[in-house]
Symmetry: C2
Amino acid sequence: MTTPLIDEYRKKASFDVNTLRNIIDGEEFVEAKPQEDFAKALAAIDALETFDQGTAARYFLHANVFGSAVRSLGTDRHAEILRQTEQNEIVGCFCLTEVSHGSNTQKMQTTATFDKGEFVFHTPNIGAIKCWAGNLSHSATHAVVFAQLYTEGRCQGLHSFVIQVRDMKTMKPLPGIAIGDMGEKPGDWNGVENGWMRFDHHRAPLWTLLNKGCDVTLEGKYVTSFKSQSEKQSVTLGTLSIGRMGIITKGANACILATTIALRYSVARRQFGPPNKEEMPVFEYPLQQYRLIPYLCGGFVIKIFQKRFQNHFVEYMWRVMSGEKSEELAEMSKEIHALSAAAKPVSTWMGIEALGEARRACGGHGFLTCSRLNDLRESFDPSQTYEGENNMILQQSSNIIFAKVYQILPFKTILEVQMKEPHTRTPMGTMNYLLDTPKKFSGFSNCIVEDVLSAYKYLIRHLIETSMRDYEKLKTTGKDSFTIRNEIQVHRAHTLSIAYGEHAIIQWGLEFVRDIAEQKSKQVMQRVLSLYSLFVLDKHLATLYISGYCSGPEFGDGIRSSLRLTCASLAPDAIGLVDVLAPPDFILGSSLGAEDGRAYDRLMEVFLKHENESPPFQKDLANFLVQRSNNNSKL
Amino acid sequence: MTTPLIDEYRKKASFDVNTLRNIIDGEEFVEAKPQEDFAKALAAIDALETFDQGTAARYFLHANVFGSAVRSLGTDRHAEILRQTEQNEIVGCFCLTEVSHGSNTQKMQTTATFDKGEFVFHTPNIGAIKCWAGNLSHSATHAVVFAQLYTEGRCQGLHSFVIQVRDMKTMKPLPGIAIGDMGEKPGDWNGVENGWMRFDHHRAPLWTLLNKGCDVTLEGKYVTSFKSQSEKQSVTLGTLSIGRMGIITKGANACILATTIALRYSVARRQFGPPNKEEMPVFEYPLQQYRLIPYLCGGFVIKIFQKRFQNHFVEYMWRVMSGEKSEELAEMSKEIHALSAAAKPVSTWMGIEALGEARRACGGHGFLTCSRLNDLRESFDPSQTYEGENNMILQQSSNIIFAKVYQILPFKTILEVQMKEPHTRTPMGTMNYLLDTPKKFSGFSNCIVEDVLSAYKYLIRHLIETSMRDYEKLKTTGKDSFTIRNEIQVHRAHTLSIAYGEHAIIQWGLEFVRDIAEQKSKQVMQRVLSLYSLFVLDKHLATLYISGYCSGPEFGDGIRSSLRLTCASLAPDAIGLVDVLAPPDFILGSSLGAEDGRAYDRLMEVFLKHENESPPFQKDLANFLVQRSNNNSKL
């Protein structure tokens, strides 16, 4: 055991930690714009959830999901509920998901039927029981409930309601409502009270309908200002997008927490070494660096991306709430949907991978609960499936891309005509290149990130073409479009959405880094972005070869040797980069990842708590062993 | 909610479940050979650990790890300890790992110093505290302890001892010994009592030295029959290989448990569907099949491989214990080491991936503890790092391959001369092809598995050459061989070991399937093997393009379309295949994976246990809300 080396490693950094932290954190909250309350709320939750995602979720579900739903779907008659929500006089929860339907929101089976001036809520079968509603099991007094509205003898489609579910004094469920918990879950989520709710002809007043754009009169007549079913749906379900914004951050946080713990421990842990020399920190192994540093870079780049995306989103929400109804805003809505549906999977999968790799990179000690790594993996795990299962929402993203491309050009033209500068300009610019003429690899430039972006553009074009070609081919067999869209996912549309998301993350990263004025920060961030870009592109190398983008060893070897060299070049900066984004020790909560690098001292603190324990079964065991011994000696 | 469809899916299987189960399970225990006790013991533990790896581990550590160490490293004077172990009159544990050393076994720092006819055990610093010893925290009465032996004024190297650590009656640690638990761990391992032990000049008699091949006389003289330090080490540490055999099975078990739960649930879960039709089971989505069926195939193929490997290993152990000292046996020892060091990572990584993918493929409900998927992932998680951290042991595998190649040919010859049929025959045949002249891709044959094996042979040869070329290049820079070996891991030696392991698994799978007489079983197993082979090769596609094995789209597109087609062709057989290897419900322990396919009924059983719970804090919450409301109305 020797003195911690971490401060030696800190000195190696080529940049100033505080300067870079200020650049990454930005100073968004200086100006006093009205939309900034919303941005501040998101930032506060972001900070809270590094500590405990469960607590953060409970607050977010009440204040932001329940509250936002009432605000954006309701009207003046729901002002009092909103006030009570903001003043924490009631506890809200959000009930959309049912036992047998999550992703397919339109198939929810709970009914709300107009009867004698009231709505009657009912659960027709066990598959229609509401579930996964956080805060519901024991605490929620009110709920936003989605149900199929029946009036005038027919189903008017899925609508949302805000109803009281518990007596405010006894906290017992109101008549016609049964509520329970869904049972144990892993990680931080065990405290979130994910509950289920079954209605048995529960009656609620008419004002509970969240009636923006539609209403039911006292006589039971359904009135609506929506022009189409799909317009109504997009308003009803648009409120869900806010969740995905936050979840993109979760992927970045997972990367940062994982690599903070594993890289700091790698500096403390020594194992093997050159002949006749002291054992060296496992950090020095190129493979160990390769396993961890790309995820650290992922944490930075995704965080930068998410901040810009969130600014766009806040602007978008502001324009929607201000009543704007422009074509550009409709385009922006689609682009936000496509981008969030691609970036959420890309980010959360990387986060879960990072936590798994960090655990393994810490060896056996990483498996101790005191490392916090496995608990973190459990706590981040659901980010892959909530607010849209990752694979399912990737399909939404490619569908929007296809629609965008078809909107500009009919399929045949795309494949057969070499276009001159066609455009697919979008409000956030993430689809501008879709119809550019893609260029094959002809050599590396002096900017590897630009090279990676060029490869992505070719890849994305290739995937659009192969998806569409297979789509057209399958259409001739008489299959319906639902079936065909499912059959072109693997290796094609599914990969397309991932590549689209990664391209946008890298593109915005590049624009961010270009704008950094301070040179040392800029230089290290160029390498951070390069490593992330090379790392994610590497997974598409085979497809790039198949697509004809490149042939022979030059491109593949070039990408991989750049990957190794960039990773090695970041090694001296790694501990400094960790310090830029790592939370303080009491939030990190890991024996292995403590800022002072004294992992072994922290481990010993845990070990010594259990010295010479003498659990009651020891006596039984001793008796058993003696008895075995006596019996055997009698034989 | 409709009647479970699982029996409909069962009827689709093209083969008979019981026939195939008998073929996979084999009838190894029919003949009465003496080595079969050992094989039976391994099979019993295998069955137990599907239920609870923790309980299995505790028994295995006592009977097999502690017991085997005393048997293989000790002599007649340890017969009584062995008898007590077999009769369960004592509880054994195995203390090799220390707080600051795991993989680097030779660097253990605990000392055993000869003093006045006894050994004095001492822990020189906190890094030298023994840890991770299962059974130790509260139960073990005896321990095999590895320590640096000091006598005649110098260190004689790492030796093993069997000592009593607790008083048999009081269960208190003996004088000079402190014992404690390491604290909480995830999953099944929390009950394993992984303990730590610190010596403070603890004295033990001379007979405690496990003295096969060496001894210390009453006068403190060190005598040995080992010719070299490395011969002694290989005997001392050879006893560890047995663990890796069992761990290869863990990967297969993880694949089987994961896909049993997720595939059965996918049949029960309906979501979306073609226009105007009933919603379809998510099992029918090609992407869902693609996410799960390859892991099911992995479970079959790795299980088949592991059984053959274990037979080889049992034969090897038997020959060693019979005193054989042939050159072939020495070769076999190396091959077992190389193959287990490659197959253990390949198998356990796939198992952990399978559990993660299964959890995600079950959507939100998969995250409930009652699905058992996350608990299983936690319980299988350490298989990636114990008995050799996966990345570290992969390096051992490539080192043996390099030595094998160098042994036949000097480096230059390999690169520059086109050899005519050079041979690298090995006892188990897994390295026979290493110096065959590799052929480039020139078209697919009518056996895709043979095509995959050809690609692997080219890949492996390419990786040997690039590793060696970079090795020679780095040597000219004056770096030492330890440093160079680390620098050629990423993309080269590391990938080589993985490819070597995968090739062996596929090769043995092919030989197994060829020998199946019953045609329907044979046909489905051909597709099972094809899918596994294509799935693992796909990850090397980019490297194959870089290596020059193929160019243009033909090979890559061919592999990927075969992958999709084989996966689709196995879909009707998937539920039948699950039934072949799935454990009974009470062992599977998953609400989602029950054999009768009634996932929703099982979920409801869990949910209803928590109906209308009223935890004490509800009253406080109600008071808080009322108070908030009163305060606000006063304002």
